[in-house]
C-alpha cells in the first residue's frame, strides 16, 4: 500500500506477552520434556562451516539450533606502535551482538564481559610465541541468540583460528550445563536459561584433556559439580570430533 505523502509511517509493536509466564516445568517433575524434544543430556546438532568471510585470514560460522554465530580472525598483524614490545604475540578478542539477535532489540549490550571470557578461553590454547611483536584479532558476531551463546562463540572462534592457520596446541570446545531444580540439562536454550537455578560453562582442549575456562553460577554441592563437569567433558570430547571433521571436509573440498 502506498503511504500517503506527509503521513507518519505506522509502526506495529507486539503487545507484551503475558506478564506471569508459567514455569516450563513444575517442581520435581521428572517426566518433563524439553521444549525442543531433546533428552536432558543431549546437545543440539552442531553445524560448522569455515571460510565464511573471504576477506579475513580465517573465519567460521556456527549454528546450534537457534544460536547463530560468525567469527573472523585477522592476523597476525603488526601491533599498534603505542603498544610495548612483547616477545610473544598478542590476542585481541571482541564479541558483539547484532541488534536483532535478541527478542528485545538491543539486549546484547548486557554481555560486555564475553570479550574477556573469550580471550581467557583461547589464550591457553594458542602458541603465542610463534608470532612475536604481532597481534591476532578475533571478532565474533552473534547473529541470533538462542541460548548457550558464549560456548558456541568459543568453539566457533577456535575453528576460525584453525582456519587462519594460527598455531594452537589443540582445538577449544565449550559446553554449558544448566541446573533446573534437581535436573542437569546440557546445552540450554534461551527459555531454559531464564529459569535456571545455576549454570556451569566449561571450555576444554579435548585431546589434551585440559580445562581452559570454568565458570559456575548459583549454588552447587560437590557431587553435582562432579557430575556436571563429567557431562561437560564428555560433550566437549564429542564436539571436538565434530569440529575436526568439519576442518577435514574443508581441506578436502579445497583440494578437489
Amino acid at each position: 500500500m502506498a503511504a500517503k505523502p506527509g503521513s507518519a509511517p505506522t509502526t506495529y509493536s507486539p503487545s507484551l506477552t503475558q506478564k506471569t509466564r508459567p514455569p516450563i516445568f513444575k517442581g520435581n517433575d521428572l517426566d518433563w520434556v524439553r521444549p525442543d524434544g531433546r533428552g536432558f543430556h543431549q546437545c543440539r546438532p552442531a553445524f560448522f562451516r569455515t571460510g565464511a568471510v573471504n576477506s579475513a585470514s580465517g573465519s567460521a560460522y556456527a549454528e546450534f539450533g537457534n544460536t547463530k554465530v560468525i567469527v573472523s580472525v585477522f592476523g597476525p598483524r603488526e601491533s599498534k606502535k603505542a603498544m610495548m614490545y612483547s616477545d610473544i604475540g598478542r590476542l585481541n578478542c571482541n564479541v558483539s551482538y547484532t541488534t536483532f539477535a535478541t527478542p528485545v532489540r538491543g539486549q546484547g549490550s548486557d554481555h560486555k564481559e564475553f570479550s574477556s571470557m573469550l580471550h581467557k578461553a583461547l589464550e591457553g590454547a594458542i602458541m603465542l610465541e610463534t608470532f612475536p611483536k604481532t597481534t591476532v584479532d578475533v571478532f565474533a558476531l552473534v547473529l541470533e541468540s538462542g541460548g548457550s551463546d558464549l560456548p558456541v562463540v568459543i568453539s566457533c572462534a577456535s575453528l576460525a583460528l584453525a582456519d587462519a592457520g594460527i598455531m594452537m596446541y589443540d582445538l577449544v570446545a565449550a559446553v554449558s550445563v544448566s541446573c533446573l531444580g534437581k535436573n542437569l540439562v546440557i546445552d540450554p536454550i534461551l527459555e531454559e536459561e531464564s529459569y535456571q537455578d545455576g549454570s556451569l560453562m566449561l571450555t576444554c582442549m579435548p585431546s589434551r584433556y585440559e580445562v581452559t575456562q570454568l565458570i559456575f553460577t548459583g549454588e552447587w554441592s560437590t557431587p553435582d559439580i562432579n557430575e556436571a563437569m563429567q557431562l561437560c567433558l564428555d560433550a566437549c570430547g564429542k564436539l571436538g570430533k565434530v569440529m575436526r571433521s568439519c576442518l577435514k571436509e574443508a581441506t578436502s573440498a579445497s583440494q578437489e
Binding site: 506478564k19 564481559e113 589434551r208 580445562v211 552447587w220 560437590t222
Partner: protein
Amino acid sequence: MVGLSVGEKHFIQGGIAQDLRSDGRKRLTYRPIYVETGVIPQAHGSARIRLGATDVIASVKAELGKPSALQPDKGKIAIYVDCSPTAAPMFEGRGGEELSTELSVALQRCLLGSGIDPSSLVIVEGKVCWDLYIDGLVISSDGNLLDALGAAIKAALSNTGIPKVNVASETSGDEQPEVNISDEEFLQFDTSGIPVIVTLTKVGRHYIVDATSEEESQISSAISISINRKGHICGLTKRGGAGLDPSIILDMISVAKHVSEQLINKLDSEIAAAEANEEES
C-alpha cells in the same frame, strides 16, 4: 606491575614449593584482615577492608524503585567495582575498565546467585521495591582484589540499615502507592548466608591463597570459588590462561572449602568487633 628478574621468580616458586612464602606465610594462610564498618556516613552501609597492602571500600545504597515486569516480587541488586587511579596509574580513565568489569561480573556471579535474597527487598509487589546499589572501590592494590572485595561487601551488608517504609493506605490499579521512609527505624540484613570468595592460585605444582601482586605475576592459573557457610559452592571462576586437568580443579575445590571455613569464622569475628567499635565511638 613489578617486573621480576629470573632469580626472583625462582625464589618465589621455590619458596612456595617449600611452604614458605616471601613474607613468611604458609601456603594456605591469609594476610591479617582489618575491618572497619560505617566509614561512609552518606551510604546506608559501608565497610573498609585491608588485606596487607590491598585496601578496598564497599558501600551499599538503597533507593526506591520499581521492580521489573518479569519478576514483580523481587527487588533489584547491582554490583559495580571501580578501580581508582590511586591504586595504579594505569587505572586512569578507561585503563582500569577491563579489570573493573571482570571484578564486577565475578562478584555478581558469586554473591547474587544465592547470597542475598531479592524477595526481601520488595515493599509493594509489582510497584515499589528497593534497588540496592553495591559499589566497590579499590584504593590500593597488592593482589587478591576479588577476595578483599567479597569480604568488604559482606561486611558492608552486615552494616547496612535499610530504612523502614510505611505504605499509605490501599491504592488500586496503577497508582503509585505513597510511601513514607522513616528516619528512625532500620532493618538489618541477615548476612550469615552470604558466601566468601577464596582465590586459589596455582604456582608450579602447589596452591597458594591470598597472593600478593608479585606472586600473582607468576600464576599459571587461578580459581576463585565462592563458598557459603554450609559448604556449598555459590560460584566459581577460573582465571589465568593455562589449561588445568579436571582432577586438579576438583582438588582445588576441596582445598578451598577447607580454607573457607577458617576465613568465614575469622571474617565474622572481625566484622562483629568492628561493629562493636563503631557503636562505642
